[in-house]
């Protein structure tokens, strides 16, 4: 690991419980700047829960309790002085199922800039929308359909629209919760390509169930099991010479 790597986000002993059920037992994990970090592990291992802690989406779940520290640029995001709205503008999220709003393609992308007042004028807003769609690799496909309803796009296009929507607020980190699990292989390939492009400007954390996907898109991989972090390292290390038996078993498909 070279010394120029910078820690963008950092979880310190993060514990989460939903009501009486403990979902995470103290996770300490770094997310490095301009890298893709993949979170893998069998269903129910807590990887999505951890991801949702990173922009405090767990706040919206009834009875969720988060303890420990999560730092974004060395600042605790669970500190009472932090504004959740501002945090989520800096740490965007893309969900498992494409969830465009029932509005036009344009309005979907313009939504974030509008609520945060990012564009001073109509022209500036158009510019943001176009740039976001270009970055999401969707612009050429939808440039004639900007005023069609977002839900009229195909599944893969919808997911890229959601990515464009997240990019439009210029986040620093993008969290992706199994972004390809509802898509076919071609759409998946496009998204994976996109993730690789996005890495230049953004820090990305992605939850995935596909080992190949983790291997293809990520530079770092964290293996979760039963609410614990089993192992973390460069993707190469994890996939070629894992230290832990459980990681080896999971990657080779022996459990999970």
């Amino acid at each position: 690991m070279s010394s120029e790597l910078k820690i963008k986000m950092c979880g310190l002993d993060v514990k989460v419980s939903y009501g009486k059920k403990r979902a995470l037992h103290g996770i300490t994990l770094n997310i490095l700047e301009n890298k893709v970090t993949a979170l893998i592990g069998p269903s129910g291992c807590g990887k999505s829960t951890f991801l949702r802690c990173l922009n405090r989406m767990n706040d919206t779940i009834e009875g969720a309790l988060v303890t420990g520290k999560i730092l974004l640029d060395e600042e605790d995001i669970y500190d009472s002085s932090v504004d959740v709205v501002e945090l989520r503008a800096r740490v965007g999220m893309v969900f498992q199922k494409p969830n465009p709003f029932p509005k036009s393609v344009y309005e979907n992308v313009a939504y974030g800039p509008r609520i945060h007042g990012l564009a001073k004028s109509r022209v500036a807003l158009n510019e943001i929308v176009e740039q976001s769609l270009v970055k999401a690799g969707l612009f050429s496909e939808v440039k004639d359909r900007l005023h069609d309803v977002g839900t009229s796009l195909s599944g893969g296009q919808q997911q890229r629209l959601c990515i464009a929507r997240a990019i439009a607020v210029s986040p620093e980190v993008i969290l992706m919760d199994e972004p390809c699990s509802a898509l076919d292989p071609i759409a998946t390939a496009k998204i994976e390509e996109l993730i690789d492009d996005l890495r230049r400007n953004y820090t990305i954390a992605i939850v995935t169930h596909s080992m190949q996907q983790a291997a293809r898109v990520s530079q770092f991989t964290a293996m979760f099991h039963l609410g614990n972090l089993v192992e973390v390292g460069t993707t190469d290390t994890i996939f070629t010479s894992p230290q832990e038996r459980r990681t080896q078993d999971y990657i080779t498909g022996r459990f999970g």
Binding site: F101, I115, C162, A166
Partner: protein, 499 residues
């Protein structure tokens, strides 16, 4: 003695129904037992045993009870027709109206004879006075106005009906027995009892739904007929275009003019009051729906929702006298106090009073329907918006409500059609004066109030004064129907915007 009593019970209609039911259950268990026995021997039957039982049960009760039902209706009609032919021509003349009057007197007499007392009446009894005496001893008080010729007709009616009923009961019993025998003998390996039972169930469901539709059609068409006969007497322009309402009950003066039946002031009153009611109900209802659906903790929601729904369970007459006794006087006194105590510019009965109270009544409908619609908006849309850093109220305003809008509009239209059809509150709180004004502090009247007015008290049924109620009712029906159709159209059109 006991046997005699038993026979008597058997011969009565309720008795035979019980017997058929008992027979039905017996048939069920016997067929069931037989089917079970066959299965126990190791043979595989087409259907499971209870289907054979059910099939026998249906065979026993359905044909026999259907027969009994139609036979009894038929025999009533038949005896009545026969009695009609016995009414002396001289007594009735050839006026149908008179005929009907006599017939209804006789029908009354028949209905007042105590059950089973027809044996007591023999044919020597031929004067109305003696009939009165005999029944008087039994504690049945008869009218003095009966005529002697009615007595034999009554006696024949009663005894004829009794004979027919008895025949019906016997045939019913025979049908039930036949059903039992057929069902029991059909409890065989290859008989497809399950399919048959399923078909009967399907048929039963079909009949119920058809019945509901037929009832609607019957109500509407009867209303339509009366409306048409109203428009025979009153020109369309008088009803739809006139702004004056003066139905003129003075039929006795043989006045040439039929009165004025202007719909417009009533329609305006109806819509105005409904509008005021919606003005109160929509914001309050919607905001409370947003609160219960989006902000309230589950515990608060569990308390608030049922509380609001209790409001929907209060009878509208209670709202009506709440308006009349509390709200109306309060508003009047309030306005007087504002003006310095001498001039109350709000009347106790006013558009405002009625609208306000109706608004309270409608609030739970708006909130309950909207709450369901808002909660149906997928969580993923909320997450998407929150994930972009939108606040909760931004999410609701820009994502949740727009997504729920078609449903909410439809709910509001349904609520509005309730407001238009609402009666008791406006009868008590809006006033009866026909008044075409835009001042919400004055009394106005509505279509429903006038329907109540025209149909209560002494009235002659074929006069335009009464028939106008049907025309008004028809207008109301068309109005609410259009709103409901429009609501359905909106829901259908925009429903698939999110899945």
């Amino acid at each position: 003695m006991l046997l005699l009593f038993f026979m008597k019970v058997c011969m009565s209609v309720s008795g035979i129904i019980i017997i058929v039911l008992v027979l039905g259950f017996a048939g069920f268990f016997l067929s069931y037992a037989r089917a079970c026995a066959i299965v126990m021997q190791g043979t595989k039957m087409h259907s499971r045993p209870h289907y054979y039982g059910l099939w026998t049960f249906l065979l026993i009760i359905v044909p026999s009870l259907f027969f009994l039902f139609f036979w009894n209706i038929g025999s009533n009609i038949y005896t009545e027709r026969r009695a009609l032919t016995h009414i002396p021509y001289a007594a009735a003349g050839d006026i149908i109206h008179q005929h009907n009057l006599i017939l209804s007197t006789i029908r009354n007499l028949v209905n007042r004879l105590p059950k089973h007392s027809s044996n007591m009446l023999n044919h020597q009894l031929n004067s109305y006075a003696s009939l009165r005496d005999i029944l008087g001893q039994k504690g049945v008080v008869l009218d003095v106005q009966g005529k002697n010729y009615m007595v034999p007709i009554v006696i024949e009616w009663v005894s004829g009906l009794k004979k027919l009923r008895q025949t019906g009961v016997i045939i019913t019993f025979v049908l039930a027995i036949i059903g039992f025998l057929v069902g029991f003998s059909e409890t065989k390996v290859k008989k497809r009892a399950r399919n048959r039972v399923e078909r009967v169930i399907l048929l039963g469901l079909l009949v119920s739904s058809t019945l509901a539709i037929l009832t609607t059609i019957a109500i509407v068409s009867s209303m339509l007929l009366q409306t048409i006969s109203f428009f025979r007497a009153v020109p369309l322009s008088n009803f739809f275009l006139s702004t004056a309402w003066n139905p003129r009950f003075s039929v006795m003066t043989f006045d040439e003019s039929i009165g004025e039946f202007g719909l417009i002031p009533l329609l305006v009153g109806t819509l105005y009051i409904a509008f005021v009611a919606m003005l109160f109900a929509v914001p309050i209802g919607l905001f409370s729906a947003v609160y219960t659906a989006e902000y309230a903790t589950p515990r608060a929601r569990d308390v608030i929702k049922p509380m609001l729904e209790i409001l929907a369970g209060i009878p509208t007459i209670v709202y009506g006298f709440f308006a009349l006794i509390v709200v109306g006087p309060f508003l009047r006194d309030l306005s007087a106090a504002i003006m310095g105590g001498n001039h109350a510019f709000i009347m106790a009965q006013s558009v405002l009073t009625a609208g306000l109270v109706m608004g309270i009544m409608l609030t739970p409908f708006v909130s309950s329907l909207s709450d369901d619609i808002i909660t149906a908006v997928p969580r993923s849309l909320r997450d998407g918006s929150l994930g972009l850093g939108a606040t909760q109220s931004e999410t609701i305003k820009r994502v949740v409500l727009p997504a729920a809008l078609p449903g909410i509009v439809a709910a509001l239209l349904l609520t509005a059609s309730r407001a238009i059809g609402e009666t008791m509150i406006v009868v008590l709180a809006a006033g009866v004066t026909v008044n075409l004004t835009l001042n919400p502090f004055e009394a106005m009247t509505t279509i429903t109030v006038k329907i109540v007015n025209q149909l209560t008290g002494d009235l002659e049924f074929n006069s335009p004064q009464t028939l106008v109620a049907f025309a008004l009712g028809m207008t109301l029906f068309v109005l609410t129907l259009l709103m409901n159709v429009f609501a359905l159209y909106i829901v259908r059109k925009y429903q698939e915007r999110y899945e």
